[in-house]
């Protein structure tokens, strides 16, 4: 009896990685899934915060995919190690601050380490030649295999027949003829294969799983680095960039304004780390001040807090300001006129 081979599949929660794992499973390979949490994953986090997101299905798509496939899923926290990928990408960024090629190399490398620690034979990804402008091009496919260290233990079942045979194919662990030759940006072959497998429900394919591909998010991260004078971040920083309205009225401070009750509750968890504002004469947002502020700045921040409160049209609004030491006082301010808030203050 031949030995059953074992593969670990990178599972993002999207359709391609789901199909890639399924194609290999259908050839009798034992597959387990691996999913990396970088801190920038769109998956999960914002569901808990904003009301509009609560109406969506709350499932974690990677877990859901694993359950549909009937495989184990290992979710790995790579927040710390991933910082170097974001801050110093050897291959540069995509359209925004998305280091897609370095990210793929990093993840395949981490998967390789996992296979070595757990006695698995090869790695499976849902990559397709020509699918993505930065990381999934014909020229970058060998770069990922080489720089990750996986070399020919990296199998891309959806486009394998467009690439040189890998170890699992040469050794007969999988039949190359039963792999695929997808290429380009069309989603039709994937959808047809999903149909063939009877997979009808899947997350929106192709992208949208990483905040770094989002222009607005990247602007906020770039602003964070610029004002700190260095390209560094902590998990709390990148979480806060996902939440609230961010305004920088002065170079030395910015405001994070809760847009709804869910965001206010989330920001509550951070209030001891920041000087913060809350209208008390009217309903309104919790506002965190990130940076250093003098008396004039506190007055300006209080007026902006009032502008986003239900007292925005009132003659004056009482705003409670609390410093990081917990000392509070009340400022009576005239709400900042909405039309006078310069567009460039908005990040």
């Amino acid at each position: 009896m031949t030995e059953q081979r074992k593969a670990v599949a990178l599972i993002s929660g999207g359709l391609d990685s789901m199909l890639a794992a399924r194609v290999v499973m259908d050839q009798g390979v034992r597959v387990e899934g691996i999913n990396f949490f970088t801190g920038f994953c769109v998956e999960g986090h914002t569901h808990a915060i904003r009301k509009k997101d609560r109406d969506r299905v709350k499932r974690n798509n990677a877990l859901w995919v694993a359950e549909q496939l009937g495989i184990k899923l290992h979710i790995v926290d790579v927040i710390e190690e991933y910082k170097d990928v974001v801050i110093n990408p050897k291959h540069g960024y995509g359209a925004h601050l998305n280091p897609c090629l370095d990210c793929k190399i990093f993840m395949v490398h981490k998967a390789l380490e996992w296979t070595q620690a757990n006695g698995f034979d090869f790695i499976v990804t849902g990559e397709v030649v020509g699918q993505r402008p930065k990381s999934q091009r014909r020229e970058t496919m060998p770069v990922v295999a080489r720089e990750s260290g996986a070399h020919d233990r990296l199998l891309r079942p959806l486009c394998a027949r467009n690439l040189p045979p890998t170890l699992p194919e040469r050794e007969g662990w999988v039949d190359r003829e039963r792999l695929h030759d997808f290429s380009g940006r069309s989603r039709k072959p994937q959808m047809a294969l999903a149909e063939q497998f009877g997979i009808k429900d899947y997350a929106q394919p192709a992208g949208g799983c990483c905040f770094l591909t989002d222009e607005q998010y990247s602007v906020k991260l770039a602003d964070l680095w610029k004002t700190r004078g260095s390209r560094r971040y902590e998990l709390d920083d990148i979480m806060l960039l996902k939440v609230g309205r961010h305004l920088r009225p002065r170079p030395h401070f910015k405001l994070i304004v809760g847009r709804e009750e869910g965001e206010n509750r989330f920001l509550e968890g951070y209030r001891r780390q920041f000087t913060h504002f809350r209208p008390i004469s009217h309903n309104g947002p919790l506002v965190l001040l990130d940076g250093e502020a003098g008396e004039d700045d506190l007055q300006l921040a209080a007026r902006l807090t009032a502008r986003y409160s239900q007292g925005r049209s009132a003659e004056s609004v009482q705003v409670e300001v609390t410093d990081r030491g917990g000392a509070s006082r009340v400022l009576d301010v005239v709400p900042y006129p909405a039309e006078s808030v310069p567009r460039e203050w908005h990040l």
Partner: protein, 76 residues
């Protein structure tokens, strides 16, 4: 068989799942783990993670903002 507790409050998904996964790795079959968290997403994600790994959700309930989920660890 022992009973353990895990505080995953103020963590947003998937971090509560990751904390559970990492804790369970060190436990033995039959041990129970009560996790307390605040992210409502955990009520979906932790049971899903248990199902795909064969662990059993024994009980879950909420008290104010806290969500308590107790699981029994399966054989590896």
């Amino acid at each position: 068989m022992s009973h353990y507790q895990l505080d995953a409050r103020n963590l947003l998904c998937p971090l509560p799942v990751i904390r559970v996964q990492d804790r369970v790795r060190d436990l033995s079959a039959g041990d129970t783990l009560e996790v307390v968290c605040t992210d409502p997403g955990a009520t979906q994600d932790i049971p899903a993670w248990c199902r795909i790994n064969g662990h059993e959700v024994l009980e879950s309930h909420s008290a104010e903002r806290d969500i308590f989920i107790t699981i029994r660890v399966a054989d590896d």
